[in-house]
């Protein structure tokens, strides 16, 4: 293995995020309790620098570096931009929120940066092991963040459940990886691709390995409703977009890249999984009364749509998932941003009924929620529609018309629980006083999210071309 200094330059964004996180944890020691927000602003700065670095190398395609475990290509660049965006927005949403929760501590932002670097490694990983390392770095940071409100039993419970489930699924994933290694003698993705091509698709051991990989990764893209409900809302927002996008980045590369030649052996499995995911998410969400729980199921349903892109495959399937993740980041961060506004003093504001009559009192926030909810429901002219449209296009191009029909039916079902919230906001009289926890940072995050949701809805061409030009050859 040659140790090329140029490679070190290429992975500079990862190094910046990690070393920035380490410096901030030291800085935390010398800051007073009322100065912790400085860490937040510095982490925003670190994210921006890293983003600038990634943007600079955007044109490069490094090939496989660092012992062929890592690559800097358009695909990883696109996903990293999504990660920067989601982390940036999540930090903005946190600044006031963790003060309200009374857990304003420096490690909070440091852990977010660690999670970010984990996601970046996942997007760039070209070896099952480097992907696994990134995934664990991300997951461990998020376990801690989930339980960050130590005095709150729900938060602790959520963290505990997440660790147990996460450890279990990591075990399954690792077992899958070990099977893959046993069959093909490699974990490197392009070698794997060559190996399975020669293997023949009906190898039962390989099918078993794939089932383990699907189960392991599947857990990472699905949302655990208890965890979503118990975690600090800013972290729920964060994990509903960033880690999910990172897992999809890895899944696409593993399945469409490395296991693409044997797609017959997994495509039906994924198709069935996506139908179940969409159905469970859409139908269970109908009966939820807690908005964070409802959004957890909504997040499951959206993961189901994104999985359809994997089923569709091909350049369009990949680009559709990429665009979907970007769009989902904007709209989901937006809706969580409005939920965070409700949390003030002792009021939690997590019941869907708490939003009753919001439009009478606060027109601006009500309008933002309207935009985000219609976007989540996939109604044009919002970005959510463009995302679904592309997924359906990719599906139909690959000939999966019945699957597309199932997906649109599910999306019509799921429209119900989004417009129900719009109904409560606009069509009912308020039953209580609204006192919103506004802050400049939160407003900025909402403005970015709303701008993205509308802009991609009306003028998707630029974003679409970005996604299309960034796909990996698979």
């Amino acid at each position: 293995m040659t140790f090329d200094i140029y490679n070190m330059v290429l992975i500079m964004p990862e190094i910046i995020v990690l070393s920035g996180a380490c410096l901030l944890i030291l800085l935390d020691l010398v800051l007073d309790q009322n100065q912790k927000h400085i860490i937040a602003y510095l982490s925003l700065f670190v994210i921006l620098i890293a983003a600038a670095g990634t943007w600079m190398f955007a044109g490069n395609n490094s090939g496989e570096i660092l012992g062929r475990m890592f690559t800097i290509d358009g695909y990883s660049t696109f996903f990293k931009m999504v990660f920067y965006l989601s982390t940036f927005l999540a930090v903005l949403l946190s600044i006031n929120y963790i003060k309200v929760e009374g857990v304003e501590r420096g490690e909070y932002y440091v852990l977010m940066l660690f999670a970010l670097s984990g996601m970046m490694i996942m997007a760039s990983g070209t070896d099952l092991l480097s992907i696994y390392v990134g995934l664990e770095l991300m997951a461990l940071s998020i376990y801690v963040l989930t339980g960050f409100i130590q005095y709150n039993g729900r938060s602790n419970e959520a963290a505990m459940k997440y660790v147990i489930l996460g450890a279990f699924s990591s075990g399954v994933l690792l077992y899958g990886i070990s099977l893959v290694y046993g069959i093909t003698g490699t974990t490197q993705l392009s070698d794997l691709s060559t190996a399975v091509k020669n293997q023949g698709s009906m190898d039962m051991a390989l099918v078993l390995a794939i089932i383990f990989l699907v189960a392991g990764f599947g857990f990472k893209v699905a949302a655990v409703p208890d965890v979503y409900e118990g975690a600090p809302t800013s972290i729920t927002a964060f994990m509903s977009v960033g880690p999910k996008a990172a897992s999809f980045a890895a899944i696409l590369r593993v399945f469409l890249g490395a296991l693409g030649p044997v797609s017959v052996s997994w495509v039906n499995l994924i198709a069935a999984l996506s139908i179940v995911t969409m159905a469970v998410g859409s139908i269970v969400a109908l009966s939820q009364t807690n908005i964070k729980r409802m959004l957890a199921y909504s997040s499951i349903a959206h993961a189901g749509y994104a999985l359809l892109g994997l089923v569709a495959g091909g350049p369009d399937g990949i680009a559709a998932v990429m665009l979907y993740m970007l769009i989902y980041t904007f709209m989901n961060m937006g809706i969580f941003g409005t939920i965070i506004l409700m949390r003030k003093g002792n009021f939690r504001g997590e019941n869907i009924e708490d939003y009753t009559g919001l439009s009478k009192v606060n027109k601006g926030t009500a309008l933002l929620m309207l935009i985000f909810l219609f976007s989540l429901a996939g109604i044009p002219p919002t970005a959510g529609f463009v995302g679904k449209f592309y997924i359906f296009m990719a599906l139909i191009r690959s000939g999966y018309v019945p699957l597309a029909v199932i997906a649109v039916i599910m999306s019509a079902i799921s429209a119900y629980f989004y417009i129900r919230i719009v109904m409560l906001i606009y069509m009912k009289e308020p039953t209580r006083e609204f006192d919103l926890a506004r802050s400049p940072a939160n407003s900025l995050a909402l403005a970015i999210a709303a701008a993205g949701t509308i802009l991609i809805g009306i003028l998707p061409a630029w974003f679409l071309d970005m996604a299309k030009s960034a796909i990996f050859p698979g």
Binding site: I379, V405, A461
Partner: protein, 503 residues
Amino acid sequence: MIEAVHNSLGIPILSIVTFLPLAGAAVLLFVRNAGLVRWIALAVTVADFIVSIPILLNFDRTTYHMQFVEHYQWIPSWNITYFMGVDGISVLFVFLSALLGWICVVASWKAIEQRVKEFMIALLVMQTAMIGVFCALDFFLFYLFWEAMLIPMYLIIGVWGGKNRIYAAFKFFLYTLAGSIFMLIGIIVLYFAGGETFDIIALMHQKFSLPVQLWVFLAFFLAFAIKVPMFPFHTWLPDAHVEAPTAGSIILAGILLKMGTYGLLRFPMALFPYATSYYAIPIIVLSVIAIIYGGFLALAQTDIKKLIAYSSISHMGFVTLGLFVLNATGIEGGILQMLNHGITTGALFLCIGVIYERTHTRELAAYGGLAKAVPIYTTFLAIFVLSSLAIPGTNSFIGELLIITGAFGFNKVFAGLSIIGAMLGAVYLLGMYKKIALGEITNPHIREAWDVDGREIAAMAVLALFVFWIGLNSAPFLDIMHVSVNHLIEQMNTVNGYYATIN
């Protein structure tokens, strides 16, 4: 497409007429005073109406080609363009939408007291989406406008509607969404079947394979049949019409229902002529059921708004009957009847709204002797009632006559059955008029009712003008659509000839 690059005015007039209301809505965001909001909304919608007049005046009646065309790149990698244009069919509905736009504002002047600003914004956004639907020549653009209508209409019914408004709003939203998602799949299937384009004109020149025709026809048909609404997809309509505020009912009856029939004419019929003749009989049967069943339902109503709502089902049955007899007389009658129904039923809902503001009841039993209390109002009501039951001299007579003539050319049984519906119309409409306007005043509220004011007279007079104009001299209106309809039929015959040779 050479045949579509044609804009005699040289200015993007269709974009102006489409987006002017949206710009007005954006201005309204910054206005706080409710009175000022009303005036700005009125000014914007009147301006929009004025802009729509030169479109009609400069319309070239001698060609079926799309006119006032605007064509720009929008999303190149999906081959989606911003493509606007009108032909002899759609131009009438652009005009109708612009006409009813300011009438809706007038109808809401006093009826809407709560959240006036939000209401007017919703109304203006709605108008942009509606006019956009009639101008769009790119499927993606069309679908965008089509679905975007759901948001303001959901709010108009749900926020400003009657007692049962939330149920009605959900029903409207979910029904319409359920229909249009299948159309979305249909559109994407066509995109790939037609050589990766959403260009409607280009797709019209394609010959699709039989399975594509038959399946995608059904996907489109479902979306449009729900909108029309055809029997048995009509159950959302009474709820939505009755619960919606007056302006909402005018939009629903005047324009939204027309979108269903316009959609049927523009897409499934023009794109899949073979499937159209294949499914024509079942659709005609459904139409005749709608005519008669809708008439009987209207007969049984005691609420005026519900009565008019059910009468719409019957009248729209005439329209779909006219379209699917597949001859020029029937289709032209159908199109004219779409325009007529928009004017007449819009006017009837306006009348109901006007009297409801005064008496706060829509129960037929609570009325009687209105002619003595408010003579000008009852005169207008009489005109619109007579127009609705298609008395000679009014607009609907010409429309229904053409449709029934067309139907006789197709099949005497269906034509004969449809006449039953026309007779039922006379029964329930005259019965309604008798109960409302004639007899003695029994309800003290009616004695206190004041007659229509200048604003309301202006709106009713303009609509009455069109009732008689089309009724007495329908030639200019038929001329506009004539060439386009003939072209449609020619195209259908050519394509069906082609299928006849390969089968």
